[in-house]
């Protein structure tokens, strides 16, 4: 019965949603914001209410979820391969270490065998079993080199020290033996296992998430093919800035109810996007009430100011190395700028000096509207707005 009921439930749910034609559906920006969790509560409720009854939006959301998969891990990022350098380093260390021990041992023993001037204590005889490590490192050549090495006058051998060395060598030989028998990953098991596995994996996982996949060469190689072949596009010079009241495209179809909910939240934001629409050569333009005076953002922490309606521009450095996104100039001498990670800048002297205004949160700011040098409202990427009425002394 459960199965039958579930089937009926599924069928009823599938039959219910209206076959939306997209005219009333939230646009891609809203859907994406919903997915990223940056909608306000009111917006989210409105979008959910719509999507709950809209088959198109449900399918879109489901498709969006299905495409939210992590980048495939390159073979060199596979856990087993990532351990390889560690294992190799550990193995090399082990070999070097045992080599040093053996050399030291030989240095002690060679003079004893050669000149018999030193006491005839426990040098491993030719009958001593050849350790695995010795077999593993191409012993003949190595030992020949060692034998050819100039004999150094050995310090007077201490029986205890020799015993310690012999024991250490045995331990090392045992490890080398194990390393040869065990799979590659466990080579040098001692040193490797000293590294906690889980944290390393976690770090690597985080690194793989936070860094772009190393496919740059592939992308570059294919990028030529991606330039759209449409006529009049390829090789075209950057077009003049699009008009702010550009015709809406299909992805911009906003639900009236969503519009109502988000209009107030986006007031400042839309103004900043109008700045984006008014970009000049990729630079956000900030027009002051004085027709002749305007600013434009030209790069990280850099702006330019024009006092002749944009005929000529003077570079101004804000002193802050940050991405600047939007600005507002309530007068010819005052300008506010906002950008990523809570950057808010202000000038009250036509840009001769820029001051970083303290902002309480390190969030991306994407819009600002200002009444004067004291009153301004900034909009965060999530649509949240904070206002200051004391020049940035406090925000709420």
């Amino acid at each position: 019965m459960t199965n039958g009921f579930d089937k009926l439930l599924r069928e009823s749910l599938a039959a219910e949603p209206a076959d939306g034609n997209g005219a009333d559906c939230p646009d891609a920006a809203i859907v994406a914001a919903w997915f990223d969790g940056t909608l306000s509560a009111a917006e989210r409720t409105a979008v959910e209410a719509h999507a709950a009854a809209c088959g198109r939006c449900q399918a879109t959301i489901a498709a969006l979820v299905r495409t939210d998969r992590p980048a495939p891990r390159a073979w060199w990022r596979a856990p087993a391969v990532q351990w390889l350098p560690v294992a190799v380093a550990a193995g090399v260390s082990l070999i070097v270490w045992t080599g040093v021990l053996r050399r030291g041992d030989d240095a002690v023993q060679a003079p004893a065998a050669a000149s018999a001037q030193l006491e005839s204590s426990s040098r491993p005889s030719a009958g001593t079993p050849v350790s695995g490590e010795e077999r593993g490192r191409g012993a003949p050549a190595e030992r020949a080199r060692e034998a050819d090495a100039p004999s150094q006058p050995a310090p007077s051998p201490d029986a205890e020290a020799r015993e310690r060395d012999a024991k250490a060598r045995e331990r090392v030989d045992e490890r080398a033996q194990r390393a040869r028998v065990a799979p590659e990953r466990t080579v040098g098991a001692g040193p490797v296992k000293a590294v906690p596995e889980t944290p390393v994996d976690t770090q690597k996982a985080q690194a793989s998430v936070s860094t772009p996949p190393p496919q740059a060469h592939e992308s570059v190689a294919r990028s030529d093919a991606l330039i759209p072949p449409s006529a009049g596009v390829a090789g075209a010079a950057p077009p003049p800035p699009p008009a702010p009241a550009a015709p809406r495209m299909e992805v911009q179809q906003a639900t009236p109810m969503i519009d109502a909910a988000r209009r107030s939240a986006e007031r400042g934001f839309v103004q900043s996007v109008a700045g984006a629409a008014g970009r000049s050569g990729g630079r956000a333009l900030i027009q002051s009430p004085d027709r002749s005076v305007r600013w434009r953002i030209v790069g990280r922490g850099q702006v330019e100011r024009s006092i002749d309606e944009g005929l000529s521009w003077q570079v101004q450095t804000t002193g802050v190395n940050a991405v600047l996104v939007a600005g507002a100039a309530p007068s010819a001498t005052v300008c506010w700028l906002v950008g990523g990670r809570g950057v808010v800048l202000k000038t009250t002297d036509s840009g001769q000096t820029w001051t970083r205004v303290a902002f309480p949160e390190e969030i991306d700011l994407v819009g600002v509207v200002a009444d004067d040098d004291r009153v301004a409202t900034v909009t965060a990427a999530g649509g949240r707005q904070l206002r200051t009425s004391d020049g940035g002394g406090s925000w709420r």
């Binding site: 009926l8 914001a33 997915f35 709950a52 992805v251 000049s280 990670r341 999530g382």
Partner: protein, 244 residues
């Protein structure tokens, strides 16, 4: 790709303005995102066409006035650029799928509900009138109960039952933990069942008749589900589309 929205907005603005360097950067960083999403939507490459068309629009096409209009102008920085791109791609892909489905010939040519006709032939050659009546009643009851559900609960149900998302994926949509989704789904399902029982009783059915209604579901193989009958050749995505 893990960047701040402000950086994404800056990049989109520069791309919209025709900055070649920015476009190169966009292609380098976001092309894999878009193509990976397209492959996830349709592993047979159907969504790649949509992604390629999207590239052309992102680069910009000239309007009647000769100005180049780029889709980037509609990126507002309210989400990451990667999510926005995936959302645009998903929306267009779904629209295309739905348009293609509308163009497909109907299974039933003589005007009757195609779904019912398919079910009718699949269920039994001699349908039991009483059972058919009970199932019809249950359908009506379910429709009424589902119509009264809060939108959030309905959305959760749709994600799980209709879109066939996993609990984790449903949680991603609803911004809930997987365990919460599971708990809520069970609770909602139980509530639906109780409401349906009440609805049936209100419609004049006695207790035993209501029980018989539900029992008829266990006898009734239900709507014909082709997926178990068809072996794997049908792509999962297309199969999911059919349930819409």
């Amino acid at each position: 790709v893990n960047r701040s929205h402000a950086e994404d907005l800056e990049l989109a603005g520069r791309c919209a303005a025709g900055d070649a360097e920015a476009w190169d950067r966009f292609v380098r960083e976001f092309r894999p995102v878009l193509y990976r999403a397209a492959d996830a939507l349709d592993r047979h490459g159907g969504a790649r066409e949509v992604a390629d068309a999207l590239y052309a629009e992102l680069y910009g096409v000239r309007n009647a006035q000769g100005q180049r209009q780029s889709l980037f102008r509609y990126f507002q920085g309210r989400s990451s650029l990667a999510t926005w791109l995936r959302a645009v791609l998903a929306q267009r892909y779904i629209d295309r799928q739905r348009a293609q489905r509308r163009l497909a010939p109907l299974a039933d040519a003589d005007g009757g509900p195609a779904q019912g006709a398919v079910h009718g032939t699949a269920v039994s050659a001699e349908p039991d009138p009483a059972r058919a009546k009970y199932v019809a009643l249950l359908r009506r009851a379910l429709a009424a109960v589902l119509g009264a559900l809060p939108s959030r609960e309905r959305m959760r149900l749709a994600c799980y039952y209709v879109q066939e998302l996993t609990l984790a994926e449903t949680g991603r949509v609803m911004q809930e933990h997987e365990a919460t989704v599971s708990r809520q789904l069970a609770r909602t399902r139980r509530a639906i069942r109780e409401d349906v029982e009440r609805w049936l009783e209100t419609a004049g059915l006695s207790g035993p008749q209501v029980a018989e209604c539900f029992a008829s579901l266990s006898d009734d193989p239900g709507p014909l589900d082709l997926r178990p009958l068809l072996a794997e050749p049908v792509p999962a995505e297309q199969a999911r589309e059919r349930t819409l």
